[in-house]
């Protein structure tokens, strides 16, 4: 008979508790009537969600964050996907440079990035400071690794050089090759990159506050505002924010697994993208 060991169970259990307690607590706090005098909440209510939804700012900040996140995703795709493709196809020797640049946002704190951008773009001829457009521009930089990595992994998984040559020999223009041959085959990478960018931007506070501040309130700014007024409404906001991130993650997972069924190579790469996050 197999000997039972508790070691791994303790570690896994400890890890799960560590990860889940804050989330579960936030959920419970968002549906609790009161939870400061007892061990468990005194009662359950949806009052805080109602209050959150009833606030006229809710829809505004939700829309702002949605627009900013989606714009960032689109801008990021348009800039990064063709660049990564061309570099991989035509200037492979420049790959390490691009790999290095794509990690820079991890090294530069958001505050530094924001202040630097304000100093650069607040003066003529740009005059972009404190506009949503500038926020999107900053976010494209900030989230570059999230888009670049999955796209590059997908590019590596399909032999884009040979596929491009095959399409060319059949008479295809480069734009058709990109649209009909390359993009469909790296789509898992693009989609998972896009969802990672979306989830990251939707909950981003620091850069948004520094760059646009109160002139363009986003969802996390409203969340922070409520933490100072009523923690339970703030919890409701947090849960909504979590949910959006989770739905994004589920969609990534679903795409990864369904792709894995279709082609073994492509799918495993998307899987890698997620696990490396």
């Amino acid at each position: 008979m197999k000997k039972r060991t508790f070691g791994p169970g303790i570690f896994i259990g400890g890890f799960l508790l560590y990860m889940l307690i804050p989330i579960v607590a936030t959920y419970m706090f968002s549906v609790a009537t009161r939870w400061d005098r007892t061990i468990l909440p005194e009662g359950l209510t949806f009052e805080w969600y109602k209050t959150a939804f009833a606030d006229r700012w809710f829809l505004i900040v939700f829309k702002h964050s949605l627009v900013i996140s989606l714009s960032t995703v689109i801008a990021s795709m348009v800039i990064i996907v063709p660049t990564a493709y061309w570099v991989h196809l035509r200037v492979p020797e420049a790959r390490p440079i691009l790999d290095f640049i794509s990690t820079l946002p991890f090294a530069i704190p958001g505050v530094v990035l924001a202040l630097g951008l304000i100093r650069l773009y607040a003066r003529p001829p740009w005059m972009l400071a404190r506009t949503p457009a500038m926020l999107v521009a900053a976010y494209v930089i900030f989230t570059m690794p999230f888009m670049y990595r999955p796209v590059v992994n997908s590019l590596k998984a399909v032999n884009i050089k040979v596929l491009t040559e095959a399409a060319q020999s059949l008479g295809s223009s480069w734009i058709r090759t990109l649209g009909q041959v390359i993009l469909p085959n790296i789509m898992p990478g693009i989609i998972s990159g896009g969802l990672l960018v979306f989830a990251t931007i939707f909950g981003e506070f620091t850069i948004a506050t520094f760059l646009v501040g109160a002139r363009f309130k986003t969802f996390p700014m409203q969340l922070v505002y409520y933490t100072r007024r009523d923690g339970r409404i703030a919890s409701a906001y947090s849960v909504i924010s979590f949910s959006i991130a989770w739905v994004s993650s589920l969609v990534i997972l679903w795409i990864a697994t369904s792709w894995a069924k279709r082609s073994s190579s492509g799918g495993s790469v998307v899987g890698k993208d997620i696990s490396s996050r």
Binding site: E165, A166, Q168, S169, L170, S172, S264, G266
Partner: protein, 366 residues
């Protein structure tokens, strides 16, 4: 002027010269193989024809039209890759239809052509399948059909069978030849497999270190190799290094005088007495047993036996030198390991070469 003219092609990557002054004329409908070890420049040559590499020098002329700098997507070359390169997001049917769609062929015509091609490559029932659902051999058939769909001016195949199993490889190579002959399509075939090149080509171009070593029909390449490299690269061959002792009688002294070989005076033409040379004999020319030839008859010792299929290769030791002799496998029991056997070969089966060149007068030179 021939159909496809490759004139003084040269291509270097950084310091490495991949192709050095390559000249070749290919006639319409001809099947030409570029054969050589890896790194000999055969693939680079093919890629220059396809337009994937631009030559540093020289020109490519296709039916009178200079195409050296025309982009690959306007050359009308059909290409088949070693890695199949099917578009993974499309079915076999759509892969074949891709080139036709690019060329704005009508839907009805696309349907007709694709079904016809699927039929031609024996995959009529598999059009709906994705590449991942097809075996390697089937994928390569689809890739072949896809390249043929655009009715290419030249069909280019880059080691198309290297990734396949031996059985599939032989079946598919015969099929490639059958389809090529039926369609009369000009074909350039790159391979490192000499058996493949010999079996399907009208003409074989043997390359080595960025240059053409020899070109000719498969028979010329095998029977009349012009250089030691061709002699040893194409098939197996026995080599005896020696010194010409008597040019009139054709006597060669080998193994420090222990062995005297008799060659035809023709084979030794151009060599003077005392000159060093190498004598080449194919294993199938070496006869074992009593029924041998009188020209070069020796006692050797059988050291090992390799079964190759219908033929069995005997590894004989003659004066410290290894000699291969191919016998019919059904005769293999006549010989016993480590026992002495009688071996011989006819003098006119010997080819002689001085350092780097052939010496046989009657060999066809191109």
């Amino acid at each position: 002027m021939s159909y496809l003219d490759l004139i003084h092609l040269r291509k270097a990557f950084d310091e490495t010269v991949a192709v050095k002054d390559f000249n070749l004329q290919v006639e319409k409908g001809e099947f030409v193989s570029l054969l050589g070890p890896s790194g000999c420049g055969k693939t680079t040559t093919l890629r220059m024809i396809a337009g994937f590499e631009i030559p540093d020098n020289g020109s490519i002329v296709l039916s009178g039209e200079e195409i050296t700098s025309i982009p690959s997507n306007q050359r009308g070359m059909g290409m088949v890759f070693q890695s199949y390169a099917l578009f993974p997001n499309m079915t076999a049917w759509s892969n074949i239809a891709f080139g036709l769609r690019v060329h704005r062929v009508s839907t009805a015509e696309i349907k007709r052509r694709v079904n016809e091609l699927l039929d031609l490559v024996g995959l009529s029932d598999d059009g709906h399948k994705f590449a991942s659902e097809l075996s390697g051999g089937q994928q390569q058939r689809v890739a072949l059909a896809r390249a043929l769909a655009i009715e290419p001016r030249v069909l280019l195949l880059d080691e198309p069978l290297s990734a396949l199993d031996a059985v599939v490889r032989v079946a598919l190579r015969n099929e490639i030849r059958r389809i090529q002959s039926a369609l009369g399509i000009t074909t350039i075939y790159v391979t490192h497999d000499q058996e493949e090149a010999l079996s399907i080509s009208d003409r074989v171009v043997v390359m080595r270190q960025a240059e053409i070593e020899q070109e000719g029909t498969p028979e010329e390449i095998y029977i009349q190799p012009q250089t030691p490299f061709v002699a040893t690269f194409v098939g197996t061959i026995n080599q005896f290094e020696g010194i010409l002792k008597d040019s009139e009688r054709g006597l060669v002294s080998c193994c420090g005088g222990e062995l005297e070989l008799s060659i035809t005076p023709d084979a030794a033409a151009g060599l003077s007495k005392g000159e060093a040379l190498t004598v080449f004999v194919r294993p199938e020319e070496v006869l074992v047993g009593d029924a041998g030839s009188q020209d070069n008859s020796f006692q050797a010792v059988l050291r090992s036996v390799t079964l190759l299929g219908p033929v069995t290769r005997l590894n004989l030791e003659l004066q410290g030198q290894t000699v291969y002799a191919d016998i019919r496998t059904i005769d293999r029991h006549r010989y016993v390991l480590d026992k002495s056997v009688q071996m011989s070969f006819r003098r006119d089966s010997c080819r002689c070469m001085r350092e780097g060149e052939a010496l046989n007068e009657n060999s066809a030179h191109h």
